[in-house]
Symmetry: C2
Subunit: 502 residues, 2 copies
């Protein structure tokens, strides 16, 4: 029995250096039962599609990360498991935020995604190599905490395993692999180099695990040296996680504040807009041409290739979003932009965290994405129509600010327009649509129903402004009773904002 | 009507610069009803003692912070309101962590605490004055977020109001106050200086509000220029907050992970202890004297006056905690230490967040606090006996690590001992207690019941080690079958740790 180290002062990985093991006989007795239970739980998950599962496998090289990935795929039905062995990041992001890689592969409800190499890999490696300072590491870990909290709030079950080996254990493992021709390829120069840096890795890992072990998603440290012990431990833990959630009757929700009350005097930012502002047709034509020319020129500069643009168009029904968007896209090379109309989410989208549908549409650098309606639907239509719970939209403000912050950090220019018309002008346009044959498809019963909720929407719109008009991504209000005026203001703002960013 | 500024690009405080107002007639009509509803809600709160309420009032000087505080005290029953106008921090902390000031005054369930000048004041002021960098500010805001999340998880309702004035508004207000002899004293040089720094204040405030507006506890920005508007708005919002929580049937809880499974091979850190270690009586007497002398010398040095010591004693029943503690305190000046026995919480303690009872016992600099059992009860007895929910103890690990981090940051030396005896040795000691007249009071039925749960406790103890043995505050395991050996190890560790910190 090894004597306790450091005069019995415990280190974090202590209980994963005890030489845990399971004998063969016990393994062969317990393994079939565990597999059966896991498979049963997985099918219940698939069938109910109650939630999605994210399993992270991190830890020391040689401790069995790859083997665990294979094992879980073998024990459960791999058709409902999505495996993500994330490699060190190359340039596949093309200017998108770091987290884009992970958002892309988030599993839908009913499925399990296993990550070997996750959002933790880059911060860990960079800190160990001294490429980032402790403060930067902590900032990145806070971002990760927010990301995982969002996943958890969206109902995702997160299970995090850290496979540990002592330094001696790692050395023994590498030597064993290197000795046999069949496995020698599995140990490379980087592995030996990292072994020499073992202590540093452990120090940073300990900090990382400590900081990111939360009540919702704690790390489980598993000793990696004995395969049977490791397999049974992880299998049993995954099973416990799945069962707890499958058997849960009510979905837990975080406490939320009461909704903001509307301004008691009924005065809002929207009332202060001078909707009477107009431009005549000739002046419009002139300035439109100039602005479109400027926009075109800007998007063809060398420096534009280093950034991307996300333009968000929100506004009242019939405020002229489509027309304004067309005046923008007319100025662009068709290969350079996407217009993304946001309607009701697809089944695929509904089964993932709310922002997923927008992350998948983010532009590469040198490109523009124009969102005709956007993620703000969460705090507008979804709030008003009660498509989501109070908690869901209440936390969306913070999630959206985080999202836009990540965009800006990745050199994306974020421009957000709110097109406002008066209630009378809306009525006029609705009537006109009804009366004009080729416009009739643009007016539905829903538009009339929304109109009845004009005041409710106004409250939500103003709270949205208050909570999401950030320094980095402010809202631009567009007085849109006059279409010419609105279109010019949109183009002018876009041109000025891109100009400032170049 | 003021034209929209910055070409309609919205800033955060936009909707609090609209010149909101309520006319006198309406105010006089609505105020009595609101007061009545508030008072009714308050009495329901007092009677049910379902939760506690924390109201923060921050914002621009001159926007009515003090008046709001007075108003709420006038509208509700001030006997159940606790008012905290926090002044800039002097040296009242005497070496305790910054947050100690706020922990001390957290309200019990059933009561409302109003803070003018809160945990936000120092970070804001220091950043505006350039005394801390943006990164440090963000770190402090993250700590605040964790603190508020803890409060919220403990059931506290947090309402945060930010009273805003435009720069012109602030100037007008100061001038008006300065003009009248009766109020001129309310504007001082600092106020005028801050007015000149208005833009900087706003920039930092905006960042602060954005970062710390969460779903549980968002900031509500209120325009401060019209007193009637301000009063009705805050009153209505406080009422909405109280009512929502009073009328809530089930208490929301955050999702939590399934509990850690115990090591499948049944091997734990505790099994690796060599409990047979012994010291004979003569050697014990010699070393005890030496170590006590060293400890005494260390605690009388000049440098010791700059730090404080928190020593935690946990362990199995009958492991000899009391005896070990006495050997420590024998070496100390009686005016220098407190021994704090932790039993079941008092009513006063039960009605506050879990860690409150420990925060109130923190030592000043130059002093030692010896905890005979501690905050770890949350993840030991409270977990095993189900005195708290799964969610409560699951999040306690993180809260405890945060707590100890704050202690260490405030130059407190944290030493944590776990005294372990074998199950046989415990039986022997129990029997001896039963048989010895003057020891009989030390053995109760509960001890025997706990003994039946030996294995359950072991699992909880090991998970506690794994999750809370941090670099900053590691656990020291003490082999305690031999009391002499245990006492010497405790003293030796304490001496070495204090020595290293000096």
């Amino acid at each position: 029995m090894a004597p306790p180290r450091r005069a019995s002062v415990l280190i974090m990985f202590e209980s994963a250096e005890l030489g845990h093991s399971i004998d063969k006989e016990r393994y062969e007795r317990e393994e079939p039962e565990l597999r059966h239970a896991l498979l049963t739980a997985q099918y219940e998950l698939v069938k109910s599609a109650k939630f999605s599962v994210v399993i992270l496998i991190g830890g020391v090289d040689g401790a069995g990360k790859g083997e665990t990935l294979n094992l879980l795929n073998e024990w459960m039905d791999p058709r409902h498991i999505q495996t993500n062995a994330m490699r060190p990041v190359g340039d596949e992001l093309y200017g998108r935020p770091q987290m884009w890689r992970f958002w892309r592969v988030l599993p839908p409800k009913g499925r399990i995604a296993i990550f070997v190499g996750s959002w933790y890999s880059q911060p860990l490696i960079k800190r160990v190599y001294g490429e980032i300072k402790p403060g930067k590491l902590d900032q990145q870990l806070e971002e990760i905490l927010r990301f995982e909290r969002m996943l958890s709030d969206e109902g995702t079950l997160i299970l995090k395993y850290w496979l540990h080996l002592s330094k001696d254990g790692q050395r023994r493992r590498f030597k064993a692999l290197a000795k046999s021709k069949a496995t020698a390829w599995r140990v490379n120069d980087t592995d030996w180099k990292h072994l020499a840096m073992y202590k540093r890795f452990q120090r940073v890992s300990e900090h990382l695990l400590r900081t990111t072990s939360t009540a919702e998603a704690p790390w489980v440290v598993v000793e990696g040296s004995d395969e049977r012990y490791r397999n049974l431990t992880i299998g049993t833990s995954v099973l416990a996680g799945l069962r707890k959630r499958l058997d849960q009757v009510t979905r837990p929700t975080r406490p939320t504040a009461p909704p903001m009350i509307r301004a008691l005097d009924g005065v809002s930012v929207l009332d202060r807009l001078d909707l009477g502002q107009k431009v005549d047709k000739v002046a419009y034509g002139d300035e439109l041409g100039t602005l479109q020319g400027e926009l075109n020129r800007l998007t063809r500069t060398r420096r534009f290739e280093k950034l991307s643009v996300v333009a968000v168009f929100e506004g009242c029904d019939a405020a002229g979003k489509g027309g304004a968007i067309r005046r923008v896209t007319q100025a662009l090379d068709a290969r350079q932009y996407d217009v993304i109309p946001i309607a009701a989410p697809t089944d695929e989208e509904k089964s993932r965290p709310y922002l997923w549908r927008f992350w998948r549409q983010l532009p590469e650098r040198g490109r523009l994405a124009v969102f005709d309606r956007s993620w703000y639907g969460r705090v507008l239509v979804e709030r008003i129509e009660r498509y989501c719970s109070d908690g869901d939209w209440a936390r969306a403000y913070g999630e959206i600010n985080d999202f836009e912050q990540q965009l800006v950090d990745a050199d994306t220019v974020v421009v957000k327009f709110w097109l406002q018309i008066s209630k009378d002008e809306q009525l006029r346009r609705f009537e006109e649509r009804k009366a004009t044959a080729f416009k009739q498809h643009k007016i539905t019963d829903e538009d009339w129903r929304n109109r009845d909720k004009w005041d409710l929407y106004n409250v939500a719109v103003c709270e949205m402004f208050d909570r999401t008009s950030t320094d980095l991504a402010p809202w631009t209000l567009v007085e849109a009773n006059d279409k010419y005026f609105a279109r010019l203001k949109v183009l002018r703002t876009l041109v000025r904002t891109i100009e400032a960013a170049l």
